[in-house]
Amino acid sequence: MSDIVGKKSGLVWATHLSVLALVIIWLIPTVGLFVSSFRDRDQISETGWWRSFLPVEQGLRGRASVDDVIVQGDTFVLTGSLFDDEEVLASVGEERPPITAFGNAGRNPGQFVAGEVADLGDGESLLVNPDGTYEYRLAEDPGNRGPRIYFFASTPPVFSFANYRTVLTADNMDRAFINTLTVTIPTTIIPILMAAFAAYALAWMDFRGRGFMIACIVGLLVVPLQLALVPALQMHNAVGIGQSFLGIWLAHTAFGLPLAVYLLRNYMIGLPRDIIESAKVDGATDFEVFLKIVLPLSFPALASFAIFQFLWTWNDLLVAKVFLPSAEEAKVMTVKIADDLLGSRGGDWGILATAAFVSIGVPLLVFFSLQRYLVRGLLAGSVK
C-alpha cells in the first residue's frame, strides 16, 4: 500500500537517512560506555574511548634514588632505574612500559625526549632512557630525598573485566539488583491492572461525572512528583507503612496511574464501538467485554505503558531514596551506584561506565521482549 506502483518517493531516502542518523547518535554514547567499561581507570582519564585501541601515554612521577650518589668534583651524580622507584612501582607494577618523554618540573612533565641529555641550567643535567635508567647531575647535595623526575610512559591498551568484577561483587550489589527488581516488577504490574479497569470504565461505561474524572486525571498528569514526596511519606508514616517496599509500591503506583489511565483510556476509546456493542448483544457483561475483547485488543497500549513504567522505576533514584529505608539491605541499584560507587570512587570512570552499562542491560531486555506487542494492524479484519 505504501508505495504506489513504480514510484518511490525521495522522502523514503530522507527517512532512511534520518533513521540512520538517529541510530548512530543513539549508539555512539552506548558504544563509548561499553568500551569504557572494559578500560583501566588511568587509561580512561588519559585518552578517549575512540583511541582505546592505541597505546596510552601515561604520565608518571618518581624520585631519583639517593642510595648511591657519586660525587664528581662539584657535581653529584644520581643513577638508577625509574622502575625501581616505589611510587612508580605502585602505579605500573612489574611492567616496564617504554618511556617517551621526561622532565624535572610538574608544570611541564614531558619537556624532553627520552634518551637525550637535558640541560637544566646551573650545571645540572638529566638523562632518562626509554628503558627507565637515568643519570641526574646535580650542583647541590640532594640530601636524603632525591629530586622529582616526571615522565611519560607509553602503556599498551588494557582491557579487562576488572570493572565488572568490582561492580558486580561490590558489597551487596546482588542484593541491590534483587531489590531493584522487587521495586520495578510490582510497580509495573499494579498500575497496569488498576489503570486498565479504570480506563475501560472511563472509555466505555456511561456514568455521571465521567468527563469530570477524565479532566481530573489529565490534571494529575502535570502535578510534579516532588510536590507529593513529603506529604506521601508523612502519610505512609502515619498509617504505619513507613519506609518500606510496600510504601514504594504504593508511591510508584500512585505516580504512574494518571499517565497509565490516560494512555489506556485514549487507546480504548479508539477501539471500534461496533465490536463492543456486538459483544454486548452477544450477551457479554461489561466485565466480560473488558476481559475478552478490550484487554486483548489493548495489548499495544499495555506494552508501551509497561515499557515506560519499567524504565522509569528502574532508573528512579529520588523516589527510592525517599520511600525506601536507608539501610544497606534495602538499597536499590541506583542508590547503590550513587551512594557507594560514586560516593567513594567519584573519579573512577571505569566503574561508572560499567555500572551504567550493567543497569541498562535489563531495561534493554524488557524493551526488546515487549516491543513485539507494539504492532500495527491488530484490529485488521474486524470492521470495514
Partner: protein, 365 residues
Amino acid sequence: MAELRLSKVRKTYGSTEVIKGVDLDVNKGEFVVFVGPSGCGKSTLLRMIAGLENITEGELWIGDELCNDIHPGDRGIAMVFQSYALYPHMTVSDNIAFNLKISGYSKEEREQKVQNAARILQIEHLLKRKPSQLSGGQRQRVAIGRAIVREPQVFLFDEPLSNLDAALRVEMRMELSALHRTLGATMIYVTHDQVEAMTLADKIVVLDAGIVQQVGEPIDLYQRPANLFVAGFIGSPKMNFFPVTVVARSAGHVDVEGVTIERVSVPTDPSGIEIGDQMTLGIRPQDLDYSPQGPVKGTIEMTERLGSETILNCKTEDGTSLLAVLGRDEKFEHGAQARFEFEPAQAILFNHEGTARYPDQALPD
C-alpha cells in the same frame, strides 16, 4: 401474535427528539425492513430494539416480555452490524461461538452449533482463520453466522450489505432471502437502499424524521403511497410531482390543471376537495408516455438510451424537472418540445398536507 411490538416509542437526546412515537407490530417469521433517508432514525430505532440505546418513552415487547430495561444479551435478539464488528483477535469459529461460550454451553454443543451455522453459510473451510484473512463477503457471512448460532427470536440487521460491492450485494441479498425462508425467523432489517427493501421485505416501514410514514407490503407502498414522502421515496426513478389547481369536481372525479399540465380528470373521491384548492399530482416516470397530444409539457434536456428503455430528462415551464421512462428505444432531439400522456387512473392526487387521495379512500392511517 406479534413477536415484537413497539408502543409509542420515543427517543430524545437532550432536547432533540429523534424518534417521535413509533407504533409497530412485527409478526412471527416476518421480514420487516426499515427504510428511509439518512438521519431518519431507522438505525436508532433498531439500536433501541437491540438495547444499545435507551428507550426514552414507550414500551418494547419481545415475545411476552417487556424489554425496555433488559440487557441486550438477554432480549433474545441477535444483531448483524454494518461494519461486521468481528472480534479481530479470535478465529472465525471463536467469533461464532463467543455468545455460546458466555452463555455457558459445553464445548461439544458449541462445536456442533458452530458447525451447523457454518454449513448453512458455507464457511466450514474458514473456521480456523482470523477475520483479517477473510474477504468482505466472507466476513459478512461470519457476522451472520454469529447471529444464527444464537437461535434468536428476532434477527436485527443494520445495513449489512452496504460495505459490499454491487455484485456481491446482489448475491448476499438473495442468500439472506433464502436464509430467512430456511430459518423461518423474524428479521428486522435497516437499509437506505430501496431495492433491498422491495426485494427482501414482507413488510416495509418507511421512516422520515423519526415518524413512521407508512407501513405495508412493498407493492402496496409502490402502488398506494400514503403521502408525498413515501411516493417520492419508493420507486426509482423518483415520482414526478406537479402543482395543480382544482378546476372542477364531479362524482368520483376531480379535474385539475397546472402550469405544465393541461386539464385532466383524475378519478378520486372528491369529498372535502373544493374548486380552487391547491393540490399535487404525482405521476411515476414509467406511467408517462410520449404523445404529441398529451397534457404534460416539457423541453427535452437529456436522454439516456439504455436499449430496453429510454429515460427522458425534461425541463418544465416552471423550472422543475420531469422524468419519463419509455419502455422502448427511441431517439429524441435535445431541446425539442415534448408532450406526454398518462392514464389518469395511475396518477395520484395529494392534498395540501401531502396526504394521498384515492377513489376508495381505503387509506392506512
